[in-house]
Symmetry: C2
Subunit: 541 residues, 2 copies
């Protein structure tokens, strides 16, 4: 029996329509790439988005076309997204931190037909443009005065490109399961894989993420997404903030501690979100200048595990609540947030910090399970770990073009590639990447746990753990260490330091000292390269 | 271009699955109809729902079947809902306050095949059962010990009905646009009209209603829906509370001030919701006993306009935030809530009370407009009023069987039958029912505003305003007054009292004194009867 309810598709333009109708005067404040801090309201953002949509359509772009953006978080980037979506197009965010050849590969794979680019990144585009035959329009997101001289064909400034459009445009009618956005994951191996978001997944994800135990944002919040829009949808904030009418503060290209603090302070930001690296820079700035964070209430930290000392500093020294989070590009991206359920409401001090080391619990719409190599579900006891699989209202069902099909099983579960345990209250903690976990005698050893422990030694600058083949145990851990400058710890020193802090059988079989550990373009340890480097290393048996 | 995201239908059983997985130990505390306060967890509620679904299926009920409930808010009622939905059935809530003949009419119209009924209402069922040939199972929601002697065929106690089921059952696979629930509106004229909710509308409505500027509930809240599940879905709380893992407190059949206060206090409820009548009883109880509300933080008041004095008392005397709300059975039911946007953040005292007299703003997923008789949109200036039309993710597209088709227009807007104005910040205030508004010389006069003003006169017990035909102005207002016992105000008294508080041309042309004003079964003024009563009344010109 069918219900008798209206057909009201969950499409992205309804978000900006709602913001402009219910919160017309709410500001989006941006540190522009040109220089000054600029202000627009949601009513103005919508108007500009209409102009973007109108101009795209006039130039012959149509529903389903992929339109790339290579840009910082600014009001203009928002206008571009809503404009692209509003004419039925698919915004495709490019990560400027990738190598130019990767960017070209991704743009060709997605068949991008146009590109919105910030001034900062014009040199990248000049480098890759010859490899992009399908790209027929480049809009440099600046005014005429700042438009650089460039040999790029089809390049035009944002200002003059929009000048002819009055915004008298009706959003294109599209379905909620149509593509709204694309983002490629940059794995450590193989070609990047494209995730294709739907309008529905973006809208549902925004609804979930605004809820009190998730990001918990409303019209009276001032939200600064430092996490870039090109980094997994700015964790949904580009959609959830307008949906609830929150004021937005967009940091543009300046992520240094002083610039971030300036905006937090002058715009009275009370909620912000980014990866740990950004917060390291901010905390260092605060210490150097003796500044405080009087307005900030909540910082959402994800993208990489949040160090315990960082949580401690924010909460104890600056009275800012840390919400540890985990997600993936394939999850739109939120998977879990470490907000506090009643079961942990009484925790404080070290116990609370223990809880906050976990990546948190799944909100409604995210299903999780942990499994062993035979796909048996593991118990939620906070100890047993397994491969983390997810299913939900905003989880990818495939990669663009069919890559990585082995990560999607027949029951609709996506294999995250992470290894985790989950406690009885539903709090998940990532313990490793599944390709990095060390399988010793049928049991798993977390490389990340060992690395985190080893870097606690005062003479260790960086540490990486890989599994090496072992005749009896299948694999055993090798700890690779970069000593701090001027220090030369011995293997015995480090083993003595680790002893008693882990199970005996987790102790690395050997320690190798190196000058440098290889990293990917996005700063992750490149364990494949490390494994190649130590391919001939023999563990003593 | 289709997106590549998982197909994860928005169906109600996913709510209870999530609650049981992520909040297994969270309690649902009920004042049982049998007597004592009883406790169940979400894990137990889900288990019982599985048993309900299993037993329904074993008895031959199938997806799409309407299963009625005539019951108070209790954990068992929740189990019935999730069980009915989990086997693909449609819960159909019956309002016990209707006349038995209306109940029988509604049950036959919906073709209810089974009924869950509380002890309290068995006598009603005994009365109407002979008129219900399709009804083939009656489950009395009690244990064997309390099972009454009854001549009802097919009646069985909840306890023995479920005894044979172990709950080893897989939720039936249904689509998100399939019917999940039914509720009939009881208008003042004509037959009741059936609204058919979808799984999707229930889930989306719950997501929206949990958001911070709507009801704003999370896992650490203790929520008591006093508003009945048979009154427009308990305003979504039966779905939103489990979705976010909030503890629920269910008041059963006792709505008197002492019983409500007892649960608020002993269970440390911090969020509650009901119609003004309930709160009048509570406030009276508080005054009589000198009790306080130390735990309660937020009370959501809707179903009828919240009197200003009530808001004032809750906020000033008891430090409880009042959230005025408006909705309709046809809207699943939330339409607007008067939470505070930044534009009103500085308001306090009388100014804040003025804001809180408004029914509030529409959350994401509810579109509103006000129109005149020619369907022209009226401005959002906080003064101009028009017929309120809505559209959205949880708004009815039709009534069951096609009744009331004139309320749905071709562009998908539903005519609420209310007249309202909306201010520049999006705050809507109901000023009248469109059939009651008085159309004088092309302008509209709000009958409700006049009534509210007239009852402010110390000698007036109740007041009703209707429009009477007028040769020059089309219609002019007649004020019908029931004097307070022992008082006999004159028409001049009342007109003098009203003078200066309304526009001159709003002043009623005449005042009629009566002993009684006719009411509907649900306590609303029956203006149709009043108009019939005064059909021959002649206004002097």
């Amino acid at each position: 029996m069918l219900a008798l309810m209206q057909d009201w598709p969950l499409v992205c333009h309804k978000i900006i329509d709602h913001a402009a109708r219910q919160h017309p005067g709410r500001e989006v404040v941006s540190r522009s790439v040109d220089g000054p801090v600029v202000r627009a309201t949601y009513a103005q953002i919508r108007q500009a988005a209409l102009q973007v949509a109108q101009t795209l359509q006039r130039e012959g772009f149509a529903a389903g076309d992929r339109i790339a953006t290579l840009a910082w978080n600014t009001g203009r980037h928002l206008e571009a997204w809503y404009g692209i979506n509003g004419m039925g197009g698919v915004y495709h965010t490019l990560n400027p931190r990738l190598f130019p050849d990767q960017i070209a590969w991704i743009m060709n794979h997605a068949e991008d037909k146009a590109l919105f680019v910030d001034l900062t990144f014009v040199p990248i585009v000049e480098k890759v443009a010859p490899q992009l035959p399908a790209l027929r329009r480049i809009v440099v997101m600046t005014d005429d005065a700042h438009m650089p001289e460039t040999g790029l064909a089809n390049a035009v400034s944002w200002e003059s490109w929009l000048a002819g459009a009055d915004g008298d445009f009706a959003w294109v009618d599209i379905g909620e399961k149509d593509a709204s956005g694309m983002c490629y994951t940059s794995g450590t191996t193989g070609d990047p894989k494209g995730v294709v978001y739907s309008h529905r997944s973006n809208v549902l994800h925004a609804m979930v993420s605004a809820m009190p135990d998730v990001m918990g944002i409303g019209a009276r919040d001032v939200v600064m997404p430092v996490v870039p829009m090109f980094h997994a949808n700015a964790w949904g904030l580009a959609q959830s903030a307008p949906m609830v009418g929150a004021k937005m503060v967009m940091p543009g290209g300046k992520m240094d501690g002083a610039s971030i603090w300036e905006l937090l302070d002058s715009e009275m930001v009370n909620v912000t979100a980014a990866v740990p690296t950004v917060w390291l820079m901010l905390l260092q700035h605060l210490e150097e200048t003796g500044s405080a964070l009087p307005h900030l209430q909540k910082v959402i930290i994800g993208g990489a595990a949040c160090p315990r000392a960082m949580t401690e500093k924010f909460e104890n020294d600056y009275d800012v609540e840390v919400i540890h989070a985990w997600g993936m590009t394939e999850m739109n991206p939120l998977g879990s947030l470490c907000t506090i359920k009643p079961e942990y409401a009484a925790a404080d001090g070290a116990e609370l910090l223990d809880v906050k080391q976990k990546q948190g619990h799944a909100p409604f719409g995210v299903e999780m399970k942990i499994v062993d190599d035979e796909e048996n579900e593991m118990p939620w006891d906070g100890k047993t770990f397994g491969r983390l699989k997810v299913r939900g209202l905003a989880v990818a069902s495939a990669y663009y073009g069919g890559a990585g099909a082995e990560q999607f099983d027949d029951d609709g579960w996506f294999d995250t590639g992470d290894v985790a345990h989950i406690d009885p209250h539903g709090y998940m903690q990532i313990t490793d990447r599944s390709k990095d976990v060390i399988k010793s005698g049928g049991e798993w050893i977390s490389s990340i746990d060992l690395e985190n422990l080893a870097v606690g030694h005062p003479d260790v600058a960086e540490a990486a753990v890989i599994g090496l083949p072992h005749p009896k145990w299948d694999e055993r851990p090798l700890l690779v260490v970069v000593p701090r400058e001027g220090r030369s710890p011995s293997a015995d020193d480090i083993i003595a330091f680790m002893d008693g802090k882990i199970a005996k059988w987790w102790m690395p079989d050997a320690i190798a000292f190196v000058d440098e550990i290889p990293h990917t373009a996005t700063g992750k340890i490149q364990k494949t390269a490390l494994r190649a480097q130590f391919a001939d290393y023999k563990l003593s048996t």
